[in-house]
């Protein structure tokens, strides 16, 4: 499982409240990613990080911010949650493999419901 944990695993929150999801990895991977998964859309990249304090936007970054103050933790924050942010959120890391290839491994996911 590439040593990835996510917390919380399930959360129900009200519209307008801030929410922070945490991704923790134990294997010192440089690259970390946040995706959301919605029916009919597959997975879409929200933000990614290529090192401590180095982050960039993905395909669907509006309404989300991220922080990475330590290699092992990548936080995703919804400043003011909306119902459209109800989704399953996956964290991923990128791990190098033989032959110059990289594979992404995914955490267990966080199911977020905004009421």
């Amino acid at each position: 499982d590439a040593g990835i944990t996510q917390s919380p695993r399930h959360k129900v929150t009200e519209t307008g409240t801030p929410v922070t999801l945490r991704c923790h990895q134990t294997e010192n991977h440089r690259y970390m990613y946040w995706y959301r998964q919605d029916p009919g859309h597959g997975l879409r990249l929200i933000h990614y990080s290529y090192g401590v304090k180095d982050t960039d936007k993905g395909e669907v970054s509006d309404g989300y911010s991220v922080s990475r103050s330590k290699t092992e933790d990548f936080l995703l924050t919804l400043e003011s949650a909306t119902s459209s942010q109800t989704s399953v959120y996956f964290c991923a890391i990128s791990e190098s493999r033989a032959g110059g290839r990289y594979e992404q491994y995914f955490g267990p996911g966080t199911r977020l419901t905004v009421t």
Binding site: H41, G42, R97, Q104, G109
Partner: protein, 113 residues
């Protein structure tokens, strides 16, 4: 805008039959990934295809990549119920280590006895 299209999106097949899932993408890339997802679970890496003509096989699944046609296929041979899952292809946009993946919408496979 990079698009990754899978078809079919839903596939119901009988055990013992063969079928192919197609993944088309709209920009140049030489890295393509296939993942499997069981209901309520995370994604499991199946194959990484790195070059034109790459073919990988694991059990009853075989994946191939044609970068000139911008097409990857996932072929299922003699399907069994345990293969029921959703299968995603994903294309690496930038290559290298950055690994920003664009996913298809997934193909939900149901294998019936």
């Amino acid at each position: 805008e990079l698009k990754v299209e899978q078809n079919p999106l839903f596939l119901s097949m009988q055990e013992g039959k063969n079928y192919t899932i197609y993944c088309n993408y709209s920009t140049t890339s030489d890295r393509l990934y296939w993942y499997r997802q069981d209901p309520g679970k995370s994604l499991e890496s199946l194959f990484v295809l790195l070059s034109n003509g790459a073919v990988k096989q694991e059990g009853r699944l075989m994946a191939s990549l044609d970068t000139k046609a911008r097409l990857s296929t996932l072929h299922i041979t003699a399907a069994v119920h345990d293969l029921s899952a959703t299968y995603f292809c994903a294309v690496d946009v930038y290559g290298g280590s950055q690994g920003n993946l664009i996913f298809g919408k997934g193909t939900k496979l149901s294998v019936k006895p």
